[in-house]
Assembly symmetry: C2
Homo-oligomer: 263 residues x 2
């Protein structure tokens, strides 16, 4: 059981930011990563559609022996976390709670902004989570529908990406926030431009680091941490293997073999 | 159940650094704080003695309806966490795991130092926890027996405290670490001098912030977070109420009534 893999899933390459942090913070663990690149982006889709996609992916991954599932996609977490938790008997984590908790931890002004896909922002999942813990927080939300397609096309280093980030986030720079939650696992690939735009005074919260730490905590408390170094990570994608592989290798800094899956 | 208090205990005033973070990050929760000021410091005592003290305190606190226990004392965590977990049916948290996990999260060089009491350092609890998760870490440990008495006497702002911190930490400033774990809940009261001594390049990890975030996570996942704002916090101490109250009011920034307890 302890040596079983952790299933990590996303609409595409965004969840790799979380996978990378899991590899760094929990180097003994094995990851089976699933990117639904064919049907990416999830952001503009209905919650019901996203939910059915996440269920399909989890069903696929559960053919392997898994000890935990990590929905490394904010849109997927908002739409499907609860029903995946209800449907399976192993620990299931999303990326929204850890990010919300981390924002509460670092924000001193109690003024927090959240950026995410249309689906995530419309779900108000962050707002509900933040307010349920801390009713006095002031929260600003902004959908950034152009960010995910830029990342999936591998354009996150380009001057075009810089322009899009600056233009999209301009309204947030006028607010007196001290904390910005990257409410989409794709956004850490744009973090350089996001930090530049927001300035030094704003703490940038990436779900990736926080979710990996929370996974570590949950595996520890359930006595599920790997005792030895694990097996080779595996990567599955529904769309083009080539672009996925390129981004994964650049981001993870290691060789990646991508297995094509038809759902 | 959700509106029940959280029991927080320490050898003295150190656990107030954790209590303060719980109040900040989880403002709806109620805290029953126990400081064993009469028998402080725990650091130089044997593990067996510290364990029996922690059991006495938890037995005392459990007369109230509690939904969780937080051993906000590193020496107490090292000596008694497992047996308190085994003995009681509610979630029990220590301060060592969250701090270790946070250090792994922020350290890029994988070179981490831990400071704590003699009891904590001798237990090698941090080292074991860090290495079990991440075998490649380089870890340096240093006992700082003079720190707790300085804090308990209310002398943490003084030039004497500055001198003691500088002298004690001098060996660590020659190492190429990027992360220092404050492995004692009293040490955040000396954090200003500790940061000055270590310099900007070293991340200072306070168990307080991380433990409060982990408590938030555990209460959330067990569906135990308070739904409404809670009752008044209560404070118990075995020794002098006066000095405890003074430090508690300064640190928490609110009026504190201390109830004297004979164990």
């Amino acid at each position: 059981m302890n040596q079983d893999a952790i299933g990590v899933l996303d609409s595409g390459v965004g969840g790799l930011t979380v996978a990378k942090e899991v590899m760094r913070q929990l180097p003994k663990e094995t990851i089976y990563y699933f990117g639904d690149t064919l049907r990416c982006p999830y952001g503009p889709r209905s919650a019901d559609e996203v939910k059915s996609f996440v269920h399909e992916i989890v069903s696929y991954l559960m053919q392997f022996s898994l000890k935990a599932i990590l929905i490394a996609c904010n849109t997927g977490t908002a739409a499907a976390l609860q029903s995946i938790k209800d449907g399976w008997d192993i620990p299931v984590l999303g990326v929204i709670e850890p990010g919300a908790r981390a924002a509460i931890k670092v924000s001193r002004k109690k003024k927090i902004a959240v950026i995410g896909t249309q689906g995530t922002i419309q779900s108000r999942a962050y707002e509900k989570m933040l307010k349920s813990i801390h009713p006095e927080l002031q929260i600003y939300s902004l959908a950034c529908p152009e960010f995910v397609p830029l990342v999936e096309k591998g354009l996150y280093h380009t001057p075009e990406a810089k322009r899009v980030v600056e233009k999209t986030l301009a309204p947030l720079t006028k607010l007196d926030i001290d904390t910005l939650i990257l409410g989409c696992t794709h956004y850490p690939l744009l973090q350089h431009f996001i930090s530049q735009t927001m300035g030094d005074q704003v703490n940038i919260i990436s779900s990736a680091e926080e979710t990996a730490a929370e996974l570590s905590s949950i595996l520890y408390h359930r006595n599920l941490l790997s005792k030895q170094y694990g097996k080779k990570h595996r990567f599955f994608a529904t769309g083009s293997q080539y672009l996925f592989q390129q981004i994964a290798e650049e981001w993870l800094g290691e060789n990646v073999e991508v297995e094509r899956v038809d759902l």
